[in-house]
């Protein structure tokens, strides 16, 4: 009894442990890398400490910063474009049987295509400029967004829509004022998957096209045998991936919270 009560008093709050354990494991992973690199001892596998020290050096270079910035900007554009188009498409599919029947077989066929691999073809069509790079990201992000919006819209409570219809809302209005808020948790889940997808497509397509951007930066360093730089850039990209996911989760939990309150509010208004 006494031991148990002492134990429960000593239990670290979950949230703190959650973050602390992530940092701790990051440290462990870096130590593992350091030890492994020591042990293997080849040029192509520098020490973790060396790579980490190279990170601020790269981040101070103007050119590298511009490259990474430009990549992120294109990623943002592609993602925004996908949000504007894929979410309404997905929501419509979820509420309209015909649209779903027409589109989902096509989407099924498109799904396994490696999106970043479309880069050479898209570049042939739209040139080597930013447009092609944004388009590839757009395509990559669109599919998970459509999928999740589709499922979110499918599970919307029918009664909400009936009351919206009774209020005289037009179909488009219903889509954005009833279906979207109710499907928001699921749509945001799609956004999270889409965000990861955007980063992957961005890096992969830049590696393939070798035309400016973070992915090209990476392969330039590889070609010039700047091995420590390669690893430093990987750390930066991994950091970006981790950070974007973390920030998005914060935003998501806030937005979903808001959506839940909104969802409750829609019902009494509809009844009135």
């Amino acid at each position: 009894m006494s031991i148990k009560s002492v134990m429960s008093a000593l239990v670290i709050p979950r949230a703190i442990w959650h973050n602390a354990s992530a940092f701790l494991s990051l440290g462990v992973l870096l130590l593992l890398w350091e030890g492994l690199a020591h042990y293997i001892n080849i040029d192509g596998f520098p020490l973790a400490s060396e790579a980490l020290l190279q990170v601020p050096v790269i981040l101070r270079e103007r050119e590298a910063l511009i490259s990474i910035g430009a990549s992120l900007w294109r990623m943002f554009l592609g993602g925004a474009l996908a949000l504007m188009i894929a979410v309404p498409v997905g929501l419509t599919m979820g509420r309209n049987q015909r649209t779903a029947q027409a589109l989902s077989p096509v989407l099924t066929l498109i799904y396994p295509i490696p999106k970043a691999a479309l880069m050479p073809i898209i570049m042939l069509w739209f040139g080597i400029g930013d447009l092609s790079k944004v388009l590839v990201i757009f395509v990559g992000v669109s599919l998970p967004l459509i999928y999740h919006s589709y499922h979110g819209a499918q599970s919307v409570d029918e009664k909400l829509l009936w009351s919206a219809m009774a209020m005289g809302m037009k179909p488009v209005e219903r889509l954005f004022r009833v279906v979207l808020p109710s499907a928001l948790p699921e749509v945001l889940l799609g956004c999270r998957v889409g965000l990861a997808m955007a980063l992957i497509v961005m890096i992969a397509s830049e590696m393939i096209a070798r035309q400016s951007g973070a992915g090209e930066l990476l392969f330039n360093a590889l070609d010039m045998a700047l091995y420590t730089d390669v690893y430093a850039i990987i750390i930066i990209l991994a950091g970006i991936g981790f950070l974007l996911d973390w920030v998005f989760e914060r935003i998501r939990s806030r937005l979903v919270h808001w959506a839940e309150i909104r969802q409750d509010a829609v019902v009494p208004r509809g009844r009135a």
Binding site: P112, P114, M207
Partner: protein, 261 residues
């Protein structure tokens, strides 16, 4: 299925709205594409007609050189997936039990990293041959399987475990006789996602740096602007993805005979 949603939707696949509907719209799309090309509205060097791509595929498929490239890709794809499967399931089971304290934070740190960025490091460490590509496939495909296993194992009904323990199963035996079969539906969903990711990853890796494989064929054709030959490997790898997915769906149906779908 919740774990499927969490892992991101690849699941237009298998959710068909009846045979007829699933054929009509792709067929219409292909016919429009074909029509546009036949009518000369698009220069053939920019977009080949679907029939042209199909005939080229049929043409090159028996070619031993092409088969060699296809074989290389399949070796990387399947061995990478197999390693990811074994690692993912065992780590997932480990993380669901006593290993959670150590494994869970590590998974949380590693999962959101875009694995493709690791490819140059794999090339440096493992060289330009099979190993670096397989390593990338494993790195990419292991997480969906691992996370699915973890969630499946966590969701095991405790009374199933109690029933097993009371019947005399040891803790270790109950992992194999209760937790693993309980988590099987989730694991198979993870596998389907991982398999598609593996197809994509191996192709991209071959495009980025390789001297063989389907991805290499595509980039080689791109350098000489042979558009049909760019479409052939791209469509082939997508077809392989669909085919493997169909196999997994069939396996799922047999393996999960006792579960409510």
């Amino acid at each position: 299925m919740n774990e499927a949603k969490r892992l991101g939707g690849w699941l237009f696949l298998g959710r068909t709205h009846g045979m007829i509907f699933s054929v009509i719209s792709p067929a219409i799309l292909l016919m429009i594409w074909e029509g546009v090309c036949r009518a000369g509205l698009i220069i053939p060097t920019l977009l080949p007609a679907p029939t042209a791509v199909f005939f080229r595929l049929v043409d090159v498929l028996p070619d031993p050189e092409f088969l060699h490239h296809l074989g290389q890709t399949m070796i990387r794809l399947l061995s990478g997936f197999a390693i990811a499967l074994v690692t993912g399931v065992s780590l997932g089971l480990g993380a669901s039990g006593r290993g959670s304290l150590v494994l869970e934070p590590i998974i949380r740190v590693l999962a959101p990293i875009p694995k493709i960025a690791l490819y140059p490091a794999f090339v440096l460490i493992f060289g330009f041959e099979h190993t670096s590509k397989i390593a990338l496939v494993v790195a990419d495909a292991v997480f969906p399987i691992l996370l699915a296993t973890l969630h499946g194992a966590r969701a095991v009904e405790p009374k199933l475990l109690w029933s097993a323990w009371a019947a005399g199963a040891s803790r270790r035996m109950s992992i194999f006789t209760v937790i693993l079969p309980s988590a099987l539906p989730a694991i198979l969903t993870g596998c389907r996602i991982a398999l598609l990711i593996a197809c994509v990853t191996v192709f991209l890796a071959e495009m980025i740096s390789s001297t063989d494989g389907l991805g290499h064929l595509m980039i080689r054709s791109a350098r000489s602007f042979r558009i049909i030959d760019m479409f052939v490997p791209l469509i082939l790898i997508s077809g392989i993805g669909l085919f493997l997915n169909a196999i997994l769906l069939a396996a799922r149906k047999r393996l999960l005979a006792g579960f409510d779908h």
